[in-house]
């Protein structure tokens, strides 16, 4: 049985995977083994974390914190 949190995580991963595929198909820039994993670190960790921090700094309730 998949918990709600795991389900949300799977959806986020799925969106990032689809994003990679769309990006690769449109740009024909197939990310190599160094930049590929970096893409996932950026889209699934760095960008959401920065977004949460900015929202927090702007006085809005930080999502997920």
């Amino acid at each position: 049985m998949i918990s709600q949190q795991d389900g949300r995580e799977l959806v986020r991963y799925g969106v990032a995977v689809v994003g990679y595929i769309v990006l690769a198909m449109f740009t024909k820039q197939f990310l190599t083994w160094t930049y590929g994993p970096l893409y996932f670190m950026l889209t699934l960790e760095v960008v959401p974390r920065t977004w949460r921090r900015l929202r927090g700094a702007a006085g809005q309730p930080a999502v997920g914190e």
Binding site: Y13, V17, W33, L44
Partner: protein
Amino acid sequence: MSWAAHEFEDYFIQKHIGTKASFIAVVIGAFLPDLITKSFVYEHSTDAAHFHRGWPGLGFTHSLMFGVIIATAVLAITKSRSWALGLLIGEWAHVLTDVSDTAGVMLFFPFSTQNLSIQMWKHAASQGRLGDAAAYYSGLGGVWDFFWFCMVVIFARKVFRADYFWSVVVPADFKVWSWARRRLHLTDNGMLLAYRAYFLYGMSRMVAWFLYARFQTDKPWQPVWGGPKYIKGNYLMTGEWWRIALSLGIGGIAFVACLYLLWRLVIRRLWARGVDPEVVERGSGLRVAFH
């Protein structure tokens, strides 16, 4: 060459090594043969296969002995058994996978410069990067990637669980994960993602290249042995079968004898003074590396 199977295999291996080898070392070991060759391969388009897998060339990176030398050097310098084992297992997995394409690998270099290949799919590096990928995903190469993807998802999916990562993967290589956390300012989620990233990358890569081969190159899909037939592949295992068998046989025996001598004279001592993470309990035989 294999495009995404190398990424998937790492996670399947992780299931079997548990805490006995470093996952990061397995990943680096699996990349090692292509690390110093891949970026140059497509620049040598006239003789790409020979440059990548042959001798003279950089084909020695795709040999079993290359893994032994790298692992021994790391064991001597760092004294880390789990890193030495991880590098060895990762490199050997890469080399054995690459036996499947038409170029093959010099498995027993330097004792034999004969390439071994089962010619399951085309090595088409002379077609450039995009052409090589299109050939791979138009033949059994893409099927091979999908096979390993299924193997991981069906038989090794527990390795993706957060509790597995924190209780097995991190303790097996605590110093390096701690260092990465400090230096890169990673959160718990970031650590877990860094561990899972190569699987996500492998999956995305497999689908993207397959779609590229189907819809942007208009190449027909020919998942048959040695296919696709309409592309000229690179063959390095040529000549009479008995000469090939003889060369590989002699090379194999010499490799095993050399490995035994290396173990008796050098590696055994290095192993004895090597150190393990606290969580590791090694058995004997294959249980030194697998559980």
